[in-house]
């Protein structure tokens, strides 16, 4: 019933079609990877296929609704009680923090550096869809209309989660700091030693590269964002060093760290708009992303802040970064034990 004779007629056309489409794919990839010329097309296509994502997210929605229903009032009451108990403590801490912040601003004024201003943050819901295997990305239910921009930092209550890698009209994608294409400039909270944390593609680990054996870094050190490169604001916790391997055959230490943000909790994230004129205006000018690694890697082959898309997040030249003048400022949101 399936015409076998057609096979002979169709054979060349099948190959030709494959070659043509392969050519088309390759050119699409080049356009997409090199100049990001396809942002608009991609945004349009994303809107077109939002229904698929909504359907995929549906089971989890229903699941958590059912769980909420079963848990009932009792556990909710408990949770409210817990939150009530927690709130005064947090408020008290915040009070102190505000005083310290004011003092810090004053001191910075005396020093002649610009003050660190609080960043604006907005909570955003996540759409529960899986990403490609070995990529770590989340879909945020906010888009360009909410003022999101490429390279925008995404955090949660404990630390930095990642950055926005794709801004759609209704929704956006953010890659997590564990994504293999992600890198974030950090510094050791204890002594201000600067480094870069690269995503590894495994769920709970980032790797710190290009630190030599003489670098002062220990297991248990907290790494905070250094603010260099301009994409991420200074001082948010990023990861905790868990393992340092010093292989004499290698030029650099092999350091792995665990992100402090709860990357696998798909509930809510905070989007922050870094204070001051930090918002990159989709800048085309050459980035000074090279800065953070120059110290440590004389022969680093690829671009250091290797995020695929948001790499253009170049800092405005007028904003003096605090990291240089300041060895160890406590992170403002010291992660809870």
């Amino acid at each position: 019933m399936l015409q076998v004779s057609h096979w002979h007629i169709r054979a060349p056309s099948n190959l030709t079609r494959f070659l043509l489409l392969a050519l088309l794919s390759v050119s699409l990839m080049l356009l997409d990877a090199r100049g990001h010329h396809l942002q608009k097309i991609r945004a349009g296509l994303t809107v077109l296929f939002v229904p698929i994502q909504i359907v995929a997210a549906f089971p989890v929605r229903v699941g958590s609704a059912v769980i909420d229903f079963i848990r009932g009032d009792e556990s909710l009451r408990k949770e409210i009680a817990r939150l009530h108990a927690e709130q005064p403590i947090l408020l008290a801490r915040l009070e102190k923090f505000e005083a310290i912040e004011a003092e810090n601003a004053h001191l910075r004024q005396l020093l002649g550096t610009s003050a660190l201003v609080a960043d604006r943050a907005v909570a955003a819901e996540l759409l529960e869809v899986a990403s490609e295997p070995y990529r770590h990305a989340v879909v945020i239910a906010k888009g360009a209309k909410d003022g999101l921009y490429l390279g925008q930092p995404v955090i949660d209550a404990y630390g930095i989660r990642g950055q926005v890698s794709e801004v759609g009209i209704l929704q956006s994608t953010a890659i997590l700091i564990t994504d293999p294409s992600h890198a974030i400039p950090v510094q050791v909270n204890r002594n201000g030693l600067r480094a870069i944390a690269f995503g590894t593609g495994t769920a709970d680990s980032v790797s710190i590269r290009y630190l030599t054996a003489s670098a002062d870094i220990k297991e248990g050190d907290l790494l905070v964002s250094s603010g260099i490169g301009g994409g991420f604001p200074f001082g948010y916790p990023v990861a905790k060093v868990v393992k340092i391997v010093n292989d004499p055959n290698e030029s650099f230490l092999d350091i792995s760290a665990t992100p402090v943000a709860q990357l696998s909790h798909n509930k809510e994230v905070l989007l922050i708009w870094p204070a001051k004129s930090n918002i990159p205006a989709d800048a085309k000018k050459p980035t000074d992303n090279n800065k953070p690694v120059v110290r440590n890697n004389p022969a680093e082959p690829k671009k250091p802040v290797a995020t695929r898309k948001p790499a253009e997040a170049s800092p405005p030249a007028n904003a003096p970064r605090p990291a240089i003048s300041e060895p160890a400022k406590p992170a403002e949101g010291e992660p809870p034990p």
């Binding site: 099948n14 079609r17 699409l28 994502q53 899986a130 990403s131 990529r135």
Partner: protein, 163 residues
């Protein structure tokens, strides 16, 4: 009647691809992620073997592009990989139809492994590849699923009279 039949066939094939796409982005616990079978490739291979005149490289490319959009990967990455699968499946569909089920499953393994290696290679060129053999586990899971999926899709095709 002819048009109606034609349209219905298309709807059934398109729905099977839609279900595969939803399954590809359905959230699972993180540790299961590396075992997620390549649903789209499985459905694609079935239709390419069963109805090579209807589903071929073009369909594969379009579905792959949708997958790229959903995954947020480079546009064209999965499109290229999926059209490679479709090309090979259509090229050898007569042989594949004659194979016993387990032998088909082995071919499915090879096709999906080729797909994964191609994607891995592209990602490597773009400088964002994770260095792990785990990249090939989906093809093994897909191979194990193939016999069941084959039966399900064959029944759908027969009941829906898709041709």
């Amino acid at each position: 009647m002819k048009l109606g039949h034609n349209t219905r066939s298309r709807v059934i094939i398109a729905s099977s691809f839609l279900v595969a796409l939803v399954l590809s982005i359905l959230p699972w616990p993180v540790w299961t992620e590396q075992f997620r079978p390549d649903w789209v490739a499985l459905v694609l291979i079935y239709w390419c073997i069963a109805l090579p005149t209807r589903v071929g490289v073009g369909t594969a490319w379009s579905v792959g592009l949708i997958l790229d959009v959903l995954y947020g990967s480079m546009l064209g990455e999965n499109a290229l990989a999926k059209s490679l699968i479709a090309f090979l499946a259509v090229r050898f569909h007569l042989q594949l139809r004659m194979f016993p089920r387990w032998q088909q499953a082995v071919v499915v393994l090879l096709l999906i492994a080729a797909n994964n290696l191609l994607v891995l290679w592209i990602k490597h060129l773009a400088g964002q590849a994770p260095a792990t053999w785990g990249y090939l586990t989906p093809s093994i899971v897909s191979m194990l699923l193939w016999p069941w999926l084959f039966v399900i899709l064959r029944d759908i095709r027969r009941h829906g009279n898709v041709s």
